[in-house]
């Protein structure tokens, strides 16, 4: 029942997305605006179809309908409710349902947001692009990634999701955030295509899509940080980022979109960097598709890889089309895109944004090259070669430090140019903040030069962002915290906090493996861990051994080791004593002793919690940036002549603070 309904919704979705694309194309080709403006109605149909498919799958998961292959593979009767719901994205076909659902949600939201001007040709081309992408994903579900396949003789119980995906609630949030981010970049990409197709390549489309880009960026940021947090809480090795290919491909669109949200400001202000900005947004969207391809095709070895399937070549095809069409359009419009503007001085806000873009592009290049290089080498001369974390650490560390330096200085610079005198005045307090952070960290044990520079610069970032925020609050009260400029500064603070946590936790790790019996204790980096008892039980058919450990005499933690019978896999469930200054990470490694002892690994790393806190502050910054600041910026008369006169452009406010 759910399966046939679900399949029906998929067909319905594909047909309506395809019809939408065709009718909008005809409307655009024959200048019939009534056809173009019908995109709003089509968006309701596609959203309805995607919602139907999602509900059908969730219903089947919740009702333990094992006649459906997907449910039989990815759920079991004993699975807790939350993980049954989350089983929608536990595997390939379900993730594509989620992707399509999110995409159709975005399409409907865009149609609603711009409902008064859907007959505009730029909007028409943007909606056309969105519907083509939607048709592609519905099409995947029609054939190569059909989620609603059934079997005649259903098993009594399903296999359940991969054990790693069923023991932490973050699994329910991290993929959804990541998808909201990934898919969200389809919107600015579609508008970029619209701008290229209509030749209205001024700043209009950038301003129109600013909210969407920033929101997608915020979701992606949160998705990546929550993913790191999940891997820390679940995977049992005490780390959170391993430069795994899938982590890398999720970082790539983040890097290009972060470059984009900075460099658009230069285009808005100065009308420059048009080709560059188009390239960045096209790259960001293309990289989300490439990332999905890498996850789903098995070309790269990774712990995230679900299955090898025919979806891979299709996604690679879409990637090729996206890149090819975009490059062709940019070449076609290259005359309009040329700008005559000039940047007066490198010591200016826009100058620092160019530096930021160079570094982010370099960072992305390192990550891309390191991820793809083994494939390249093997294809060219058959050699086996691995590129692991030491490579990424060594090359990205100097880029990261340079970015921290720019983050510290850039908010203090004025547009056009800044004299050394003014800069020295504005940078003094941030530098003092940097010194304070440096002193504290050296007192706490920092001892390598790169590490100390990182603390000093992160401290300066805190100082300069804090100084800007204080100035904004002084001028406008608490409302000063809203708007793009202040939201951006809050995001900077979040990133500085994250950087402090990242550097400290990477630089100082104490680790001990000990076999403990009840009453025995181990001591690691000033923390005392005592084993109280060990309990063996059966949970959902799987043997579980739970070990009670007391950390520093008061906090009881119960890390466990579960053997998943269906997967013949023992998965440790770590327990973490999170602290303000450090984390005590407890993993059960082995309980094969028949006695009551257990082999425990204890890892103590400083400031890990700051990474998650930093990520949440960045998300808060994004939300503040999206909150209208109540000020209206004056649109550039030349750029705004491209907007329709009936629509006044409200912006989130300009970058403020240091403007002289």
């Amino acid at each position: 029942m759910a399966a046939s309904l679900g399949s029906l919704f998929v067909v319905f979705g594909f047909v309506s997305a395809a019809l939408a694309a065709i009718s909008i194309s005809i409307g655009l080709a024959t200048d019939r605006s009534e056809l173009v403006s019908m995109s709003g109605k089509w968006s309701i149909w596609t959203l309805l179809a995607a919602t139907g498919a999602t509900v059908a799958m969730e219903y089947a998961l919740l009702a333990d309908d094992f006649s459906m292959n997907y449910v039989a593979r990815n759920s079991t009767r004993s699975l807790p409710l939350l993980y049954k719901i989350a089983a929608l994205w536990a595997s390939l076909e379900g993730s594509i349902i989620l992707w399509t659902f999110v995409l159709c949600g975005y399409i409907a939201a865009v149609a609603w947001w711009f409902s008064k001007r859907l007959d505009d040709r730029l909007l028409g081309f943007a909606m056309l692009t969105l519907f083509v992408v939607a048709a592609f994903f519905f099409g995947l579900m029609l054939d190569v990634a059909s989620p609603f396949g059934t079997q005649a003789n259903p098993p009594l119980d399903g296999l359940g999701p991969n054990p790693l995906l069923q023991n932490h609630p973050l699994m329910a949030i991290h993929p959804v955030m990541l998808y909201l981010g990934y898919v969200g970049f389809t919107v600015p990409f579609a508008f970029a295509i619209g701008a290229l197709a209509t030749g209205r390549l001024g700043e209009g489309w950038l301003i129109e899509t600013r909210v969407w880009t920033v929101a997608a960026w915020g979701f992606l940021t949160l998705g990546i940080v929550l993913g790191a947090w999940w891997s820390y809480e679940v995977l049992g090795w005490g780390g959170y980022w391993a430069w795994d290919p899938v982590e890398n491909v999720s970082l790539l669109p983040w890097l290009t979109s972060t470059a984009f949200i900075h460099s658009v400001v230069v285009q808005e202000r100065r009308g420059m960097l048009r080709v560059w900005n188009l390239s960045l947004i096209v790259s960001t969207f293309a990289l989300t598709i490439l990332g999905t391809f890498v996850t789903r095709s098995g070309v790269l070895e990774s712990v995230h890889e679900f299955s090898e399937s025919e979806v891979g070549p299709m996604l690679l095809g879409l990637f090729g089309v996206v890149v090819g069409v975009s490059i062709a359009l940019i070449f076609w419009r290259v005359d309009i895109l040329r700008s005559t503007g000039a940047i007066d001085s490198p010591v200016s806000r826009e100058g620092s944004f160019l530096g930021n873009n160079l570094l982010f592009a370099g960072f992305a290049f390192v990550v891309m090259l390191g991820t793809m290089f083994p494939l390249l080498v093997e294809a060219l001369n058959g050699d086996q070669l691995s590129v692991g974390s030491p490579y990424f650490d060594r090359l990205t560390a100097p880029i990261g430090l340079a970015l921290l330096f720019l983050m510290a200085i850039s908010p203090l610079l004025s547009w056009r140019s800044t004299t050394p005198d003014v800069l020295s005045e504005r940078a003094l307090m941030p530098a003092v903040t940097g010194v304070v952070v440096l002193v504290v960290s050296v007192a706490a044990g920092a001892d390598s030069i790169a590490e100390m520079f990182a603390y000093f610069l992160a401290g300066m970032v805190l100082g300069s962002a804090g100084q800007q925020l204080l100035a904004a609050v002084r001028r406008r009260g608490m409302a000063g915290l809203t708007g793009r400029a202040s939201g951006g500064m809050v995001a900077h603070i979040g990133l500085a906090v994250l950087a402090l946590g990242f550097v400290a936790s990477q630089s100082h790790t104490s680790e001990v493996e000990a076999s403990l019996s009840p009453g025995e204790s181990a001591s690691v980096a000033g923390h005392k861990i005592e084993l109280i008892d060990r309990i063996d039980r059966i949970d959902g058919g799987n043997p579980v051994t739970e070990v009670s450990l007391v950390v520093d005499g008061d906090e009881i933690h119960r890390p466990a080791l579960t053997t998943y019978i269906n997967y013949a896999m023992a998965v440790g469930t770590p327990s973490v004593a999170t602290g303000w200054s450090d984390d005590v990470y407890l993993v059960v490694l082995d309980v094969s002793d028949s006695g009551d002892s257990a082999l425990i690994r204890v890892i103590v790393r400083p400031l890990i919690g700051w990474i998650w806190a930093g990520g949440l502050i960045m998300a808060l910054g994004t939300a503040l940036a999206l909150t209208p600041s109540g000020r209206r910026s004056k649109p550039d008369p030349i750029a705004s002549s491209e907007n329709r006169p009936d629509k006044s452009v409200t912006t989130g406010g300009e970058f403020t603070g240091a403007s002289a």
Binding site: L300, V303, S345, Q384, E425, A431, D447
Partner: protein, 155 residues
């Protein structure tokens, strides 16, 4: 703040940074790495042969555990780092178990290309700034004034 006072404050900041970093560096452990530190460093740069890109530190599968034990054993027996790597590679022939790509040959490109790319990018940026700074006349032309006047009038 007067310019002189500000310059003094900057001197203070600079001095503080140098002194504090000096203190941190002086305290750094300069003794040669212990056996367990060497073993840990080797484990962190050795990939587990069956677990898709994780190092043997990150993985708990038996193959990773056996490589960890092998590294401990060889380091304790007095092997150099290179010898330990060789023993590990020989135990799993045909697999690239070092997480660090080689610095020479074709594989060395992975180190060189990013540096070249960044250098080219930086040079392009410097050239662009040069060109921009030589744009002599940036005052509004008559055509610009007309454009602005039209835009104002149409509001």
């Amino acid at each position: 703040m007067s310019p002189t006072a500000r310059n003094r404050a900057w001197m203070g900041v600079l001095l503080a940074v140098v002194v504090v970093m000096g203190v941190g560096l002086a305290r750094a452990d300069s003794s040669p790495p212990t056996l367990s530190e060497r073993a840990q460093a080797l484990k962190e740069t050795t990939l587990c042969p069956v677990c898709d890109g994780q190092t043997v530190v990150e993985s708990n599968v038996p193959a990773a555990a056996s490589i960890r034990a092998l590294i401990d054993e060889r380091v304790a027996a007095g092997d150099t780092d290179a010898q330990v790597r060789e023993v590990v590679e020989n135990t799993f022939p045909g697999q690239a178990l070092s997480a660090i790509p080689p610095g020479d040959g074709f594989g060395g490109l992975v180190w060189v290309l990013p540096i070249v790319a960044l250098a080219v990018g930086a040079a392009a940026l410097v050239l662009a700034f040069r060109r921009w700074s030589s744009v002599a006349d940036r005052r509004a032309t008559e055509a610009d004034r007309v454009l602005v006047a039209e835009a104002r009038a149409s509001r």
